[in-house]
């Protein structure tokens, strides 16, 4: 469904992504593991056109998207739950969710999805009228995920959805990811929390200083020595 082929991305002189290739099939949960500054967020930004690759191609449903504007990429059916949520702080929760549905116009379907998101995240229903910026980090994370679902994407990318959350909230977030997948969503997950990510993913890639160094099924990665030492605490 999503394929990155030999992507090279630079920030000024630093070569952040080096010949990065990866693939996500329809219906899969694929995770990308890596330490700080390995290039995980840059990978996400490159997919969504917020940073442009210097070479390589990105195919979504076999169509190249690496030269398209961010808005067009989203319209073709990709959604991102960005790092540190990036919700609109001075809009109500409801308006944030409506923004998620910006590319859609069928009012009935949007209202139905709004209701559906509130079912997944009952906390959001309680706070529909509240300014999003006044919510806790966990609630904002739920809002960011709900907002992504509101665009009715074919695939959702999530950039460190567990960051800064308590262990209990992390579990809620990961339960939700499974739930969304069971509803038929394809998910690409970037995570530092390797044990949690691998416990729900089908496959995983390991990114080190801009290069993919490992790629395997999640089960095998969990027992892989390198992964155990570097990301699972030995």
């Amino acid at each position: 469904m999503l394929r990155l082929v030999d992507i090279n991305t630079y920030y000024g002189p630093s070569h952040v992504l080096q010949d990065l290739s990866l693939e996500v099939e329809k219906g899969e949960i694929v995770c990308l593991l890596g330490a700080n500054a390995a290039g995980k967020t840059t990978t996400m930004k490159t997919i969504f056109g917020l940073v442009r690759p210097n070479s390589g191609s990105i195919l979504f449903e076999d169509k190249p998207v690496e030269k398209k504007a961010t808005g067009e990429i989203v319209q073709s059916g990709l959604a991102l739950v960005p790092e540190s949520r990036r919700i609109f702080p001075r809009m109500s929760v409801k308006e944030n969710l409506e923004m998620g549905a910006y590319i859609r116009s069928n009012r009935k379907e949007i209202d139905a999805d709004l209701d559906h998101v509130c079912q997944i995240f009952p906390r959001l229903r309680e706070r529909l009228k509240q300014y999003a910026g006044t919510m806790s980090g966990g609630e904002q994370q739920m809002l960011a995920m709900g907002r992504a679902i509101m665009s009715r994407p074919k695939m959702i990318c999530m950039d460190e959805p567990s960051m800064g959350l308590s262990p209990k909230l992390v579990e809620t977030v990961f339960d939700t990811i499974l739930r969304i997948r069971d509803e038929g969503m394809t998910i690409f997950l970037v995570e530092q929390n390797a044990s949690m990510a691998l416990s729900l993913a089908d496959r995983g890639y390991v990114l080190q200083t801009g290069k993919i160094v490992l790629s395997d099924s999640a089960k095998n990665l969990l027992t892989n020595d390198l992964v155990r030492q570097a990301y699972l605490g030995g």
């Binding site: 917020l50 808005g71 540190s84 609109f88 809009m91 308006e95 910026g133 904002q140």
Partner: protein, 313 residues
């Protein structure tokens, strides 16, 4: 009492014009964090376009209108819409040519570009109508008298037009899909793009509306004061900018309230007698306005309605 009511009405009418101009400053600042120094000059060209359209339609000193007629109302409406559209399109062109290429440059670069555009527009004004005062035949809009109180109806007209435009803007920004997209871009440009918003289009639209309001402001200014000149935009622009800062730059309600307040201050300062300030308050109203600007910047830079954005976690 009569003086008070008069100063109040004149202050509100003048303030409404400042508010219309201030909205453009604040909208542009809100969305791309740029003080658009050319904005006052767009307003100035709005006054010129108004005069040009009205003269072309035959509203001239050679045959001054003697009474309000539907024909005159139509001509005025045409001048208002024409000035709005001219300035709106000019705003979009300026953004495209002078600001967009510098969007990822250090912030000083677009600021200097804006000052450059301001100078260019002033010279365009000078080429068009010359370096002296240009005036238009006064409109035959009378006054209402109630005992000692005498109010020029033009002030009421100015207030109605300005308030209607502001109400329209308020509706557009808060209750339409486009307005929501504008607020989203203002709060987080990348996140808005990730919702599928065409960010460039929304920024262009913001310039369209902000500059259009300055054009409409130019129209009502011309009717109220009935003269203008190429440097008008710099002066009035600075005062309107003060209004935007007073309300809290980036905040639409702030610009509206700030504009009205500045208008009232401008008007009531004239009450200060000779023995307190030499030559009386009339000679000092700009000094007072800019003293206020300095005080706000020192003591409350976020303005009256300045928002404290909750920190992102």
């Amino acid at each position: 009492m009569a003086t008070f009511v008069n100063l109040l009405i004149v202050g509100l009418a003048t303030g409404a014009i400042y508010a219309l101009i201030a909205l453009g400053y604040t909208m542009v600042y809100g969305i791309i964090e740029l003080i658009n120094f050319a904005h006052g000059d767009i307003f100035m060209l709005g006054t010129f376009v108004t005069i040009a359209i009205l003269s072309a339609l035959g509203v001239q000193y050679s045959h001054p209108p003697t009474a309000m007629s539907w024909e005159l109302v139509g001509q005025l409406a045409l001048a208002c819409v024409g000035s709005f559209l001219f300035c709106a399109i000019l705003g979009v062109v300026i953004e495209r040519v002078a600001y967009r290429p510098l969007r990822s440059a250090p912030r000083l670069a677009p600021l200097i570009s804006a000052i450059g555009v301001s100078l260019v527009l002033q010279d365009v004004g000078k080429l068009w109508f010359g370096p002296t005062n240009v005036s238009i035949v006064p409109m035959p809009i009378g006054a209402i008298s109630a005992g000692p109180i005498n109010i020029d109806i033009i002030n009421i007209f100015v207030l109605i037009v300005a308030l209607a435009l502001m109400a329209g803007l308020h509706f557009l920004v808060n209750f339409t899909r486009m307005g929501r997209a504008m607020r989203a871009v203002a709060q987080d440009r990348d996140a808005a793009a990730l919702m599928g918003v065409n960010v460039n289009l929304i920024i262009a639209l913001t310039f369209f509306i902000g500059a259009g309001l300055a054009g409409a402001g130019g129209f009502i200014y011309t009717l109220k004061f009935p003269n203008t000149y190429f440097y008008l935009g710099f002066q009035q622009g600075l005062i309107a900018f003060t209004a935007a800062v007073l309300g809290g730059i980036g905040n639409l309600a702030g610009a509206m309230v700030g504009g009205l307040l500045i208008g009232l201050i401008y008007s009531f300062v004239t009450l200060i007698p000779n023995n307190i300030l030499p030559h009386g308050g009339n000679a000092w109203n700009q000094a007072v306005i800019f003293a206020i600007l300095i005080l706000i910047l020192i003591f409350r830079p976020s303005g009256l309605f300045g928002q404290h954005t909750p920190e992102k976690v």
